[in-house]
């Protein structure tokens, strides 16, 4: 299950909501707002989503993850709105019987969300400038391995 959250993500509540007695492994990925991007100091950022399609595509991604990795439950949440440095921007939790599958599914979901889901990020820098990530020059994206 995927949702967009305009409020800060309650990681404890999400984790507690995923406890399953037949699961021995639980993997979590949290994406945090970083204070630096391409050498510029970030003060805050905003996330914007095309909600209808973001929900549809993220659910597809989770469905693919269930097909690729025999896990029991997947829950993911992405923030929208304005975030400060070190806030949780995205949370992915995967519960599985054994640990191995949970790592793979967790990584798959975050990697695919980053590539496919219509969510955009605008960063506001300490030098007073602002920029939409990957749209700075509006053509020719350069690849990052995060």
């Amino acid at each position: 299950m995927f949702s967009l959250s305009p409020e800060p993500i309650d990681v404890q509540k999400l984790r507690d909501g995923m406890i399953l007695e037949d699961c021995g492994g639980f993997s979590v990925f949290e994406g945090w707002v970083r204070n630096l991007n391409e050498g510029k100091i970030v003060q805050k950022l905003t996330y914007e989503a095309y909600e209808e399609l973001a929900l549809l595509e993220a659910e597809r991604i989770e469905k693919e993850a269930f097909e690729l990795f025999p896990v029991k439950q997947i829950r993911s949440v992405h923030r929208v709105g304005t975030l400060e440095v070190s806030e949780v921007a995205v949370w992915i939790g995967v519960a599985s019987v054994h640990r191995k599958e949970s790592f793979g599914a967790c990584r798959y979901v975050i990697d695919e969300i980053k590539k496919r889901v219509p969510i955009w990020k605008k960063e506001f820098f300490a030098d007073g400038t602002e920029a939409w990530t990957r749209c700075d020059h509006c053509a020719g994206n350069h690849a990052h391995d995060h």
């Binding site: 994406g31 996330y47 914007e48 989503a49 095309y50 209808e52 399609l53 973001a54 549809l56 595509e57 992405h78 921007a89 995205v90 975050i110 969300i113 980053k114 590539k115 496919r116 889901v117 219509p118 969510i119 955009w120 990020k121 605008k122 939409w132 990530t133 990957r134 749209c135 509006c138 053509a139 020719g140 994206n141």
Partner: protein, 83 residues
């Protein structure tokens, strides 16, 4: 002469800023999203090249050479940056 049809557009992120609105209704003779974007780029001064975009029609991803129908909702999708 192609008849004109009404297309509903939704804009996000940098396209929203450049269009000056988050949605508009546009009368067009464009048959495909590709033709439509060319018209909109000229009208709104969009700085993103078409080949850097994806497109959605009526809430799901579509091809740039898909056929447009009257009343379709089209969203041009700039490079995403979630996660």
């Amino acid at each position: 002469m192609n008849e004109t049809k009404e297309i509903r557009l939704g804009y996000f992120a940098v396209l929203r800023e450049q269009a000056g609105c988050d949605c508009e209704v546009f009368e067009t003779t464009a048959q495909t999203p590709s033709e439509l974007y060319s018209e909109l780029q000229a009208k709104n001064g969009f700085s993103i090249d078409q080949d850097a975009l994806r497109v959605a029609i009526n809430g799901d991803f579509a091809e740039f050479d898909a056929s447009l129908s009257k009343g379709d909702e089209v969203v041009f999708i700039p490079p995403v940056a979630g996660g």
